[in-house]
């Protein structure tokens, strides 16, 4: 039992079980929606955590990657009548190539230049979404015209609950097996000490680039789910604020922790629902959370709790 809990696959099983158990609760439509959004955002945050927790880099462009998937589907369906599923499959390699082009020169350098470059990418993408009215619908966003999805004859709400929940479990499984592979061991070595990893002959730049590309592809996948589930996308869902929200979710839950990623996403999805009066202060509150976490809980919630109450680490 103890061996199971210390394995990298334990969180996958726990989350799969949670997705099943939550579906048995008497959920209102609103609850199903929140749960589905949580699954979608968790996919992004798990990727972000690979980048921030293991490669030690920050991206402020993941909102744009999220939007890339969503807008590719919305635009492709509207302008060319292509199947949204095909577009979703196409958007993933496109995101991968963009991330590779941005990340390759930067990740060879020491330092945190990726944050600024991805911020620039995100800003330009947001500018395109807001200005190219005839393609993207401008600030009003665009609707996705798509037949309702009925998985095994279930209503669309439940279909998306299972599709997104299922994808979340698949993503977690992929990440767990990645961390269990030689590449994953290289990532963990870099996480512990970049210099030591370098001395051991690990190609640090390549491993960081892999982490960035994988995290960008996951963000795009989540964006595809989001637009098909919500049938609407606006530039706000793909802007800089979204990117910073993703980063906040990642650091709140805890770097390097899969369960922490989901917890961080959950906290930042539920919090605004409770604090609607503070809507005006949304930016300010996000900023304040980031500062407070960095000053008082720099490792995030889950790793801090584990250090205090969990078994001693190896």
């Amino acid at each position: 039992m103890r061996r199971f809990f210390s394995s990298v696959y334990a969180p996958v099983a726990i989350v799969a079980l949670a997705v099943l158990l939550v579906s048995l609760l008497p959920l209102s439509n609103f609850h199903i929606r929140i749960a589905t959004l949580l699954f979608i955002f968790s996919i992004v945050i798990l990727g972000m955590n690979l980048l921030m927790g293991f490669a030690g880099q920050i991206s402020l462009g993941h909102g744009a990657f999220f939007g890339l998937g969503a807008y590719m589907i919305a635009i492709g369906v509207k302008q060319y009548g292509v199947s949204p599923w095909l577009l979703a499959a196409l958007s993933l390699p496109v995101a991968g190539v963009i991330a590779w082009v941005i990340g390759r020169p930067i990740l060879k350098l020491r330092g945190y230049h990726l944050a600024m470059a991805t911020l620039a990418f995100g800003s330009i993408f947001a500018m395109f979404l807001n200005n190219a009215l005839s393609i993207t619908g401008g600030p009003d966003g665009m609707a996705l015209d798509m037949a309702s999805v009925r998985l095994f004859g279930m209503p669309p709400r439940w279909s998306w609950y299972w599709i997104c929940g299922g994808l979340l479990v698949v993503v977690m499984y992929l990440l767990a097996s990645l961390l269990d592979s030689p590449t994953g061991r290289e990532m963990r070595a870099i996480h512990d000490s970049e210099t030591a990893a370098d001395v051991l002959g690990i190609d640090v730049a390549r491993v960081k680039l892999n982490a960035f590309v994988i995290s960008a592809v996951f963000a795009t996948l989540a964006g595809c789910c989001f637009v098909m589930f919500d049938r609407y996308i606006t530039p706000q869902s793909a802007g800089i604020l979204r990117s910073i929200e993703f980063m906040t979710m990642t650091v709140v839950g805890g770097l390097g922790s899969a369960i922490g990623s989901i917890l961080g996403a959950a906290i930042l999805i539920v919090l605004p629902q409770l604090l609607t009066v503070f809507h005006e202060y949304e930016h300010a509150i996000l900023g304040l959370i980031l500062i407070l976490i960095m000053v008082f809980l720099p490792r995030g919630i889950v790793p801090t709790l584990r250090a205090r109450f969990g078994p001693r680490e190896r």
Binding site: Y112, A115, F121, F128, L288, M294
Partner: protein, 291 residues
């Protein structure tokens, strides 16, 4: 030819502002290795606060400018002493996240408390435009360039002629060595945050009559200034200044000859090219560390 000269004038004007952002970035980065993401927020605060003090509270220009500078410097010092200094055990990436948080906090407070509208300021000199052989020059453009030159020169004199300035240079070149010489690193880095905020506030006040300022102006300025700092290289004192001017010129020509809607995209292209081709910047003293 007239169009070409006109683009040079407008390029140098925005370039002077980018040069000031780049200078502020470099000042903090060299002294503390902290990548201060909220650099653009100093400019936004300077412009917004001065504009609102004048428009809403009817303060005269010099008083409004002074108020804006004082509050912005206060924010810069608070960021260091109540934020970064408190997170002692934090790694560089955590400090970067902290400054991103500070930037969001200030932006959010500005949008909620100061409003979401663009703020303007009257020019430093009586508003006038000159025509020199067909090229239109605004008095405020002259004021921006002259002001930027004055700030750069003042900083240079401060760094090379005063003991405090030399302490900053000492900490920048070798923090441990400087500490062993009895220099208080905390005070020096705090001073750099204050100075950097002051440069930002002054830059924001200079730029606002032409560019207008709103709560979200800081992000783009930070990107452009950072691009300038990377292009010029942080190794030499004039690197960020020349880099900032070049980014302004490139942007003016890009907007003039290619596309004005996507003028902000040129900075990104420059940034990616610098990273790929010359990561140490144009004027490097030594090569950057590669991993």
């Amino acid at each position: 030819m007239v169009a070409f000269l006109q683009l040079i004038v407008s390029g140098l004007t925005v370039g002077a502002i980018y040069a000031l952002v780049a200078l502020g970035f470099t000042l903090i980065y060299r002294a503390s290795d902290i990548f201060n993401f909220s650099q653009g927020e100093f400019f936004m605060l300077g412009g917004m606060l001065a504009g609102i003090s004048m428009a809403t509270y009817g303060l005269p220009y010099p008083v409004a400018a002074l108020v804006a500078c004082l509050i912005t410097v206060g924010f810069g010092l608070a960021l260091y002493f109540y934020g970064i200094r408190q997170a002692r055990s934090a790694s560089p990436i955590q400090l970067l996240i902290l400054t991103i948080g500070a930037s969001m906090l200030v932006r959010g407070l500005a949008s909620a408390l100061l409003g979401k509208d663009f703020v303007t300021l009257p020019g430093l000199l009586p508003w006038q435009t000159w025509r020199v052989g067909g090229v239109v020059i605004q008095t405020q453009a002259v004021a921006i360039i002259a002001g930027a030159i004055a700030i750069v020169l003042a900083l240079w004199v401060f760094m090379s002629r005063t003991l405090t300035g030399k302490a900053i240079v000492g900490v920048a070149s070798n923090a441990l060595g400087a500490q062993l010489m009895g220099i208080n690193r905390t005070v020096v880095v705090g001073l750099c945050f204050g100075l950097s905020a002051l440069i930002g506030a002054l830059g924001g006040i200079l730029a606002t009559p032409i560019t207008l300022t709103s709560y979200d102006s800081g992000t783009m300025l930070a990107i452009k200034g950072f691009t300038g700092a990377m292009l010029g290289g942080m190794g030499r004192p004039y690197g960020p200044v020349v880099g900032g001017l070049l980014v302004g010129l490139l942007e003016a020509f890009g907007a003039g000859y290619v596309s004005s809607v996507y003028k902000d995209a040129f900075a990104l292209i420059v940034l990616l090219m610098v990273f790929a081709l010359r990561p140490q910047g144009l004027f490097a003293s030594h090569s950057v560390e590669r991993v």
